[in-house]
Amino acid sequence: MLRYVYADQLHQFPRLAQGMFRDRAVQFSARLGWEVSVDDDGNERDQYDDLNPLYILWERPDGTHGGSLRLLPTTGDTMLNDHFGHLTDGVTIQSPFIWECTRFCLAPGAEAHVSSALMLGVLELGLNAHLDHIVGVFDARMIRVYARVGWGPTVLGTEGEGRNAISAGLWPCDEGFRARLLSKAGISAEVSDHWYNRSFGTVAEQIGAVA
């Protein structure tokens, strides 16, 4: 199942949160060899985790972490603008209608539908928050994965080679991608809505009525 969790709510899901930071260490440090900082407990965190980002996490039936990603608004500090401006022609990408997605991570042995489910979560948020685009910084080899889920990015720029290649890309938040992502993830629209509402609250009939 998908969970949408701000950093200041992660303590409610200790097992899931711990799995995310551990699996990020495995993916970005051990597997890709990126220069990320991993603490003594084997957790990978960076300065953007301290900005109360919004995480989308895939929780497996046994409660463990299956995959996750991190979102931040581009009106505040972002990894792309702080470190990868050369991948966007020097343009500081800033808009209330554009959020940044980073640290897309899959747990070792993650099921095939997890990538699609996570990207579905991004689109659901994009549509609900009236976003036009998502920008992302990602391992360049992820482009194939994103293309396979049916919502591939426009690549803005790439630096490095092989497993060190890092790309910046752009996803349009169009309703038209939703059906394809739902089908690739094997999730019905109703279930996806339910997961969204469980994290962000159900629209009550009338606030006055509960008063």
Binding site: L54, L72, Q94, P96, I98, L170, I207
Partner: protein, 234 residues
Amino acid sequence: MLESFLDRLQKVKTLGDLDGAILSLSDELNAEHMVYHSVGSGGKEYAVTTYHPIWVDQYLGNDYARIDPVVQACLRRFHPVDWKRLDWSGKATREFLHEAVDAGVGSQGFSIPIRGPSGQFALFSVSSRDSDEHWARYTQDYTRSLILASHYVNQKALEIENGTDQAEIASLSPRETDALTMLALGLSRAQAADSLSISEHTLRVYIESARFKLSAMNTTHAVARAMNQGLLRV
């Protein structure tokens, strides 16, 4: 929508001017009530509201921010929230809501949390006594304008706080200037993207970033503002 407000906002120099601009914004966006509340990176707070001063005193005196679900759920976050999605079920919360409704705040509301640079954040809310049906239509029609206006108010508040006049001239990167120049020359988006050797989506994002830096309502407005500020060589 918003054009006269944005022109007025551009002339704002002091927090006092900003108060007036926000009050005119609530008229322009047909909002019964509007609140803008900023918390600077140093913890400095600033608020403007159309609420009755008696309610504001009552709210501050009782430190209602502790139990106000809007503040609790939105401050430091960044997705727009209809108040209907919040949890109003606790006893203290229900009493707070009763007082708010009695004070004319209304029981319909929509909040836009804003994330600024260097840890600054703000909260912008509209509220009303509308029926569910009217409110649903209002939020459908106005949310994008509210998101835009609230961020421009925040930019202006930051500009005043930082005491910089330079911020008035937005700094655009050469690529953003190129994109706006092409449009000013009358090229279509497709032609502009083609001549800059970028995809149309990339062009849209560059233009959107430029629009935000110029506090413009739309692309045409962004081109006009960039021209007026002498940023384009056309």
